[in-house]
C-alpha cells in the first residue's frame, strides 16, 4: 500500500509579510518577557509580606515567597523552552529518524538513537506503533531501546528548567548522564540478544511501507508548530508544575537545613537506592519534578541522589510499562526496568562520589 500526503504550496509574498510580522511580535514578546522576569523577586516579596499579613523570616513566609517566585518564573521559562524546542522539533519526524537509524551499526546506532530520542517529536502513547515501525524496518532492538529510553529520560523541558533554575552545570550533567544511560542500557539490551522476547505478532506484523512526501514547512509553519506546542504542553503540565512548586515550597519553608543532608546526603550508601525506590512509583512529569529538585538541593541533598530521584520519576513510569507490555514479553520488560534502574544507580553513586 502506498500513501501520500500532499501539502498546498503557499504564496511567497504573503509569507515574507507574515515573517516580518512574526519577528516584530517576537522582539516585543522577548522584551516584555525579560522586563517581567527581572521584577519577579521583588514582586514575590511584595505579594508575600505587604499584600498578605505574613511575618518576614517565618517558615510560612519563606514557603509562600518560594511559591510566588517560582510559579511565574517556571511558567515563563517553560514557555520559552517549549516554544524553542517546538521550532527545533519541526525539523524532525519519527519517519526520518527511522530511515536514518535503520542503516546504522549497533554501537554508533545507540549513540544516534539516544540523541535523536531527545529531539524527535513523539508522545508516549505512540510508543507501540513507533516500536513496531522501528523493529520491522530493521533497526536493531538495542538501538530502538536507546531511543525509547532517551525520549522520556532526557526531557527538553527538564533540561531548560534545570538550566534556568540551577545553572548550566547541573543541566549539562543531567544531559550527559541521561545520554550515557540511554546509550549503555540500549547497548546492553542489544548484547543480551532478547529478540525472541518481543511479542510474536510484532515480528509477524505486516507493516505497510508508508512513503510520505516530505512536508515542506515554511518558517511561518515552524512558528505555528512552536506555538501549538506551547498551547498543548502548557495546557497539560501547568497543574503538575503548580503541585510540584507547592511541594517544593513546603520543603523550602519547613524542612530544617541539614535534615535532607542526612537522608539524601552523600555519606549514606542507601540514599541513592532509596531515591530510586521512592521515584519509580511516582508519576509526574519533568516540569513538576524540577521545583522539588530545586528545593531538595537547597536543603543539602546530594546532587547524585537528587538526580537519581528525578530520573526514576520521569524515565520509569508504570503507565509506560503497561503500554509496552503489548509488544514486549514480561522478561524483556523486567530487563528494561532493571538495566535502566542500574544505570540510574550508577549515575547517582558516581555524582555523590565525585562532587
Amino acid at each position: 500500500m502506498e500513501s501520500k500526503i500532499t501539502h498546498p504550496v503557499q504564496n511567497g509574498g504573503k509569507i515574507n509579510k507574515m515573517m516580518a510580522l512574526n519577528l516584530l511580535m517576537g522582539a516585543i514578546g522577548i522584551y516584555l518577557w525579560w522586563t517581567i522576569y527581572r521584577v519577579l523577586p521583588d514582586l514575590s516579596k511584595w505579594l508575600t509580606y505587604k499584600l498578605l499579613p505574613i511575618q518576614e523570616g517565618s517558615h510560612l513566609g519563606s514557603s509562600v515567597e518560594f511559591f510566588f517566585y517560582d510559579t511565574p518564573k517556571v511558567m515563563m521559562l517553560l514557555f520559552l523552552v517549549v516554544f524553542g524546542v517546538g521550532i527545533l522539533r519541526s525539523f524532525f519526524t519519527p519517519e526520518k529518524t527511522r530511515t536514518f537509524l535503520s542503516g546504522k551499526s549497533e554501537f554508533v546506532g545507540n549513540i544516534f538513537a539516544a540523541l535523536l530520542g531527545i529531539i524527535t517529536p513523539f508522545c508516549s502513547c505512540s510508543a507501540v506503533p513507533l516500536f513496531i515501525g522501528f523493529v520491522t524496518a530493521g533497526v536493531p532492538l538495542g538501538v530502538t531501546f536507546s531511543f525509547l529510553i532517551a525520549a522520556p529520560m532526557v526531557n527538553e523541558i527538564a533540561l531548560g528548567l534545570l538550566y534556568g533554575l540551577l545553572g548550566w552545570k547541573v543541566a549539562a550533567i543531567y544531559l550527559g548522564t541521561g545520554l550515557f544511560i540511554a546509550i549503555s542500557a540500549g547497548w546492553v539490551i542489544g548484547r543480551l540478544k532478547l529478540e525472541n522476547h518481543v511479542e510474536d505478532w510484532v515480528t509477524q506484523a505486516n507493516a505497510a511501507n508508508l512513503t510520505m512526501e516530505e512536508e515542506k514547512l515554511t518558517w511561518n509553519d515552524r512558528f505555528v508548530y512552536g506555538w501549538d506546542a506551547v498551547k498543548e504542553i502548557m495546557g497539560r503540565v501547568w497543574i503538575y508544575v503548580i503541585l510540584g512548586i507547592a511541594v517544593g515550597a513546603g520543603i523550602h519553608g519547613f524542612v530544617p537545613e541539614g535534615v535532607m543532608a542526612s537522608i539524601m546526603g552523600k555519606d549514606s550508601w542507601w540514599s541513592v537506592p532509596l531515591s530510586v525506590v521512592i521515584g519509580v512509583p511516582m508519576y509526574s512529569n519533568a516540569a513538576g519534578v524540577i521545583p522539588v529538585v530545586e528545593a531538595l538541593l537547597g536543603k543539602g541533598a546530594a546532587l547524585g541522589s537528587v538526580l537519581a530521584f528525578m530520573m526514576s520519576v520521569i524515565a520509569l513510569s508504570l503507565p509506560e510499562m503497561v503500554i509496552l507490555r503489548k509488544v514486549l514479553k514480561p522478561k524483556l520488560i523486567a530487563v528494561f526496568v532493571g538495566v535502566v534502574a542500574s544505570g540510574i544507580l550508577f549515575v547517582g553513586y558516581l555524582f555523590n562520589m565525585i562532587l
Binding site: S3, K4, I5, T93, R98, C125, S126, A205, N206, A207
Partner: protein, 77 residues
C-alpha cells in the same frame, strides 16, 4: 467515504475523532468514521504516531491532532 481514526484511546485520539465527526456534520458529507484502537491493525497501516487519520485508504496525517481546516480539505476532495 470511509474514514479511519487510528489511536489506542489517548486524549489526543479522542479529540481527533471528535473533530472529524464535527467536520462531517458541518459540511454534510456522506462518510463513515471508524475508530481503530487495536495495535496490530494500527501497525498494519505503517504509521508511527497516533492519532492518524486515513481517508479512503490514504494516510492523511500521523502523530498529531489535525486542524479542522485540514480535515475539511481532505473530506471535500
Amino acid at each position: 467515504m470511509e474514514i479511519k481514526v487510528l489511536g489506542p484511546g489517548c486524549a489526543k485520539c479522542k479529540k481527533t475523532e471528535k473533530l472529524v465527526q464535527e467536520v462531517i456534520k458541518e459540511i454534510g458529507v456522506d462518510a463513515t468514521v471508524e475508530k481503530v484502537s487495536d495495535m496490530m491493525q494500527i501497525a498494519s497501516y505503517g504509521v508511527f504516531g497516533t492519532p492518524s487519520v486515513i481517508v479512503d485508504g490514504e494516510v492523511k496525517c500521523t502523530g498529531k491532532v489535525p486542524k479542522k481546516d485540514d480535515i475539511k480539505k481532505w473530506l471535500l476532495k
